[in-house]
Symmetry: C2
Subunit: 171 residues, 2 copies
Amino acid sequence: MGEGQSRLDLFIDRMVSQRACLDHAIAETAGMPGPVFELGLGNGRTYHHMRSRIDGRDIYVFERAVAAHPDSTPPEARTILGDVRETLPAARDRFGPTATLIHADLGGHNRDKNDAFARLVSPLIELLLAPGGLMVSSDRMYFDALEEQPLPPGAVPGRCFVYRRPGGEGA
Amino acid sequence: MGEGQSRLDLFIDRMVSQRACLDHAIAETAGMPGPVFELGLGNGRTYHHMRSRIDGRDIYVFERAVAAHPDSTPPEARTILGDVRETLPAARDRFGPTATLIHADLGGHNRDKNDAFARLVSPLIELLLAPGGLMVSSDRMYFDALEEQPLPPGAVPGRCFVYRRPGGEGA
Ligand SMILES: C[S@@+](CC[C@H](N)C(=O)[O-])C[C@H]1O[C@@H](n2cnc3c(N)ncnc32)[C@H](O)[C@@H]1O
Ligand code: NI
Ligand code: NI
């Protein structure tokens, strides 16, 4: 007993932080026209949330194998199927640096694996973000040109990270 | 947009309510010696939470098919494998009405199915609870002898329910 945070505690902190960071990032980028990228669909809860809060921007979902709740499955035309190590570079060719918001929740249960993967995909993600665009992640990322932002109220430090590409309107 | 609560919102409310009700029920029954029953292991998050907060009481887990996180898998001796429609009546024979706390999170995504199942298992659960014992559920239950309790602070109405068998010390 008293061994600190339970898995339930950690999970709640992660979910609450994701929502706080997403709501903040959606509001901050609301005036921008470019697409939104969801990396990792999973159960579809954060996609469902983003879809219900984002108006006038296309949301593209990058996922290896779609297995979400039916009401949280993106239309085929905005599903980018495959390993992000391949689909992110392809998206760079297709979209250029136009994404206004990128959310990544790609991690599993292994911290070290998550960190190694975050290092691997950071440069691929970085190239997609528009000036002034925001990136929200459940893992710490390793960017050159993006700047870590202070967390919004309600987010728990260490459970969520927000990055911004300098430039754009708000710069 | 603006279509009210997202699946993420609902999920957070459910997790937060589970934790609030469990913490409350654990504290309320802390002086009682009888076992604790977890109905539905799932990912094992609430079991992990209960295990980290409960001292001196055995926690038995009722589950059809164990597929939890390794650090949240109960020991075999306290795993009661099978369909609760069969294992709950067997537990009545084995334990009598001695459970001090029963938590049930057996539902899936279909509301009507969950409600029908709650009606079915309510009489089976009722027989296991000790006088003064508490029952926490994610679904509304249908008990004869148990009394619905006010929710503790932090729990969201409709996302969690607490019931008590009259009698015992606190009666
Ligand atoms: C929603 S999950 C429980 C989640 C858990 N509270 C957690 O925090 O991870 C529901 C679980 O109940 C189990 N279950 C559902 N119906 C059952 C039944 N009739 N008998 C035994 N187990 C059942 C399922 O196999 C599933 O693992
Ligand atoms: Ni689902
Ligand atoms: Ni897990």
